[in-house]
């Protein structure tokens, strides 16, 4: 079973994402900001990370930059999932090492399609 870290400051979004991803056979760990997500990654590197952009304490993009410098931080497949839906943000995310990008609002079909594109399914 693959693991997925869901990073979002909204409890509702985390819950929806968890439901969808558990349905796709992922084991879910949650974090409500980038800093807590870093701590989870230090404990155990997940196979996948679903990542929000705007969060208090540490943003998704800052988290991603730190993650990619970390030992073993190259391996997780990172899928952004954010309301930032302009091309500049998308490009910035790709440059920082994101593998895919979901523009909110999302649904189970979009998650499934994106996760299968990056080889997670």
């Amino acid at each position: 079973m693959k693991s997925c870290l869901v990073v979002d400051d909204s409890k509702v979004v985390r819950m929806v994402a968890r439901k969808i991803l558990e349905g796709l056979n992922f084991q879910i760990v949650e974090a409500e900001n980038g800093k807590l997500a870093m701590e989870e990654c230090a404990k155990a590197m997940p196979d996948a990370i679903l990542l929000d952009w705007n969060m208090p304490v540490m943003s998704g993009i800052d988290f991603l930059r730190q993650l990619r410098k970390m030992d073993g931080g190259q391996t997780p497949i990172v899928v952004f999932c954010t309301t930032e839906n302009d091309i500049q943000h998308i490009q910035e995310a790709i440059t920082a090492g994101a593998n895919e990008y979901i523009m909110k609002p999302f649904d189970s079909e979009i998650i499934e399609s994106k996760f299968s594109q990056v080889g997670l399914l």
């Binding site: 091309i87 998308i90 895919e100 990008y101 979901i102 979009i110």
Partner: protein, 291 residues
Amino acid sequence: MTITDFDFICQILKTRSGLLLTNDKAYLLEIRLLPVARKWKLATFDDLVRLIRTKNDEAVIRDVVEAMTTNESFFFRDTKPFDQFKQICLPAMIKARASSKTIRIWSAACSSGQEGYSLAMILSEMSAQLAGWKIEIIGTDLSGEILQRAKDGLYSQFEVQRGLPITLLVKYFQQTGDRWKISDAIRSKVQFREWNLLNDPAPLGKFDIVFCRNVLIYFDQPTKTKVLAGIAKQMPDDGYLFLGGAETVLGISDKFQLLAGQRGIYGLTGGIKAPTAFGTPGAGASPAAPR
């Protein structure tokens, strides 16, 4: 809705577009045709039927037929066929057409254009290898309305998130408001043309690779057989045919057979050469076996 009205409309659909409507789909008729009735300033489905019976107006019938088509499509739908196109068909065609340097591709029943544009993006990504080649992509559909959408190349945020890798979105689309417009470079690689698959495709010319996906499912068996025979006639011996995930030629047409060692790609019966040079392990020269 009376049974005679239902049968009357079904008969029109069957002869005009091949659509086979079973009795349990009566509700679909009412839902989809009410907007058509409104457009023609009529109150109900029954009024619409009456108008068609008395006037037999082409424009009204056309609207009815178009309203009953299912136009769902995605970029890189099902992924695999597009990988096969890139890894099997193109290398084979690049060898086989080395002198003419011309390849013609048909997206039959192209709907809003995603299939043709997906192919165009693949070709664009391979442009270094394809320098000097003339590759035509022709998308056809019965519905003029959906073809206009294909030509516009304007997609919702939802549409660009299913199947389309983000790197290709960034590279080949421009954001306009909350929608995404395909770049002129990609758009100019695909021509769109109105065409009914029930007609003999001879005027469209020959095609080396045909995508005819998720449209045969709506037809009855004799219609499927006829459409496949028409496609076969327009293909060279080494051509390729792609069908949708739920479609097959088995028991429907002996003109095509599965490509050895591959799922979902068909070649002309007796005509195809097995893709030994680039096939997946196990794809030998043996004749194709059914799945």
